[in-house]
Symmetry: C2
Subunit: 314 residues, 2 copies
């Protein structure tokens, strides 16, 4: 049986880690602010798939105290990724698989810098969950994971046997998971949704339904998606027009949704601008692709992020 380390026990790591442990997996949780509470009371999951409580979990507030695990799930907000340099070497052994469960682009490559010999996967999480109290997670909708293998420079790496085995662990825990031949394509596809909706929801103080109901912003969303298509194409990844149309109509049919970045903003937390906006723009710049609207949205978020962080310090 594979052991799992969950790095960051919030809405994402708390949910997936609890599901794995609930199914009998050996899971170890790295916890930050909620350590005392989770150490004594465990995790409580309220979920559309069924509620459950884990009265006791293996909780740690220092990576150095954790055992090296077979699989390491990186579930931090990307705004805390500077911590990975010290955390990861403490929780891996040579055979460990590191899975980046975060949004955005580029974290796999950053981890490859820290741990050049390590096998690294990307896990794209399509989930709607919130931490409602320390150790209490409310899972509202979705939950699927797309798994892809990272190889140098995000070249296509196909599906490896270890991906199959890890997928089996997740499926056993009741988590839907699919295997992807091309991690970078999957990341670009996810950004097609994340960039317009996360960005505009913060800048315009709006939920997804309002952005789509207004003819001006729905046009803007579409053009932002086509800018991503252009950047991805420079890396030989094809985002089809059909895929964009599908994302648009899927969002129109969704229930009104407050994006993760909007939740962060409303809660006064730092925004994931670097991983979700700056990194894709750096990819664009490296191929001389102009993405003026993504650039503008990024600058607007950088402005709001800096201001919001200053305010919360006061």
């Amino acid at each position: 049986m594979r052991s799992y380390a969950v790095i960051g026990t919030g809405a994402l790591g708390g949910f997936y880690g609890a599901k794995l442990q609930h199914a009998g997996t050996d899971v170890h949780f790295l916890v930050n602010s909620d350590y005392d509470r989770i150490k004594t009371s465990g995790l409580k999951i309220r979920s559309t798939d069924g509620d459950f409580t884990l009265p006791r979990v293996n909780a740690y507030n220092r990576a150095s105290q954790m055992p090296a695990c077979d699989v390491v799930l990186v579930c931090l907000k990307t705004t805390h990724n500077h911590l990975l340099t010290s955390i990861l070497p403490a929780v891996v052994k040579p055979s460990s698989i590191v899975i980046v469960m975060q949004n955005g682009l580029g974290t796999e490559a950053e981890i490859a810098q820290i741990l050049p010999q390590q096998e690294i996967l990307g896990g794209l999480c399509f989930i709607c969950s919130n931490k409602v109290a320390p150790g209490e997670i409310h899972h509202l909708d979705y939950g699927q994971i797309k798994l892809g293998c990272y190889a140098d420079g995000y070249r296509q790496a196909g599906i490896t046997p270890i991906m199959e085995r890890i997928a089996e662990d997740f499926r056993t825990a009741g988590i839907e998971i699919s295997l992807n031949e091309d991690l970078l394509l999957a990341r670009w596809q996810k950004l097609v949704w994340n960039i317009p909706y996360n960005g505009l929801s913060v800048v315009l103080d709006a939920t997804t339904d309002r952005l789509m109901a207004d003819p001006h912003t729905s046009k803007l969303v579409t053009r932002l998606m086509y800018e991503i298509q252009l950047i991805a194409a420079a890396y030989d990844r094809q985002i089809t027009d059909d895929f964009i149309r599908m994302m648009l109509s899927y969002t129109i049919e969704m229930t009104p949704y407050r994006t993760s970045m909007k939740i962060d903003y409303d809660e006064g937390r730092p925004l994931e601008v670097a991983a979700m906006f700056e990194a894709p723009l750096a990819f664009a710049r490296a191929k001389n692709i102009d993405a003026p609207q993504i650039e503008m949205l990024t600058q607007q978020l950088q402005f709001l992020n800096a201001y919001s962080l200053n305010q919360s310090k006061i």
Copy 2:
């Protein structure tokens, strides 16, 4: 002595009209919501150039009751320009000069459609004034006017004798005024400031100093200015790089400024998106110029404007 009609007695029309009357000019004010108050109590001006009160003014709440005047100053917010079709024919005679004192682009051409035989000027107002109560205007700073002559399709029309005479009336009233050979160039130059600062101040809830202090938004402001340079160039109007640099450093040196569009937004009034953003974009489109960041800013304002108007109806 020339008679003046002031169409719209707010922060702008109330100030300039009162200055003209204070200097002995025959002025007639068209008033909307503040009619009763202004009819009985006149106008009160608090100004850095000196306070004064006009206990009695010629106030009208219907254009049809006004005398035809020699000069008609169009001082409405551009959001009320649909009213001009009925107002203007009632207050002009064949020899009247109509002066568009508003922000944005295109109103002179719209008026030329309504009154094809009329001589039309554009008056660009560089002024910071607010209506603080019905009939009470607070003039905070600046006040200069740039006057230019409108000719079909905004071709350059030079300086006409009537412009000189009108300028004399304003100077006698203590209003600084300069004559411009090229109205369209003057309008584009004003938009270089208005588009980035008015737009971003609303979208990002910010004053000019904060937009310039942040490196990301100050870059964005600059790129928006260069998009305007590009559109103007398609009409053979040269906005120089020096002019842009001057606007940037001028704004950095200004005291923190809440733009007129931000004031409108904060007060729940409709935004001047059509004249200040949609019209310049239509000029761009007519010459196949792509202005992606102005377009995005426009869409964001259209979204906020529609929402704000809906909210204020509730």
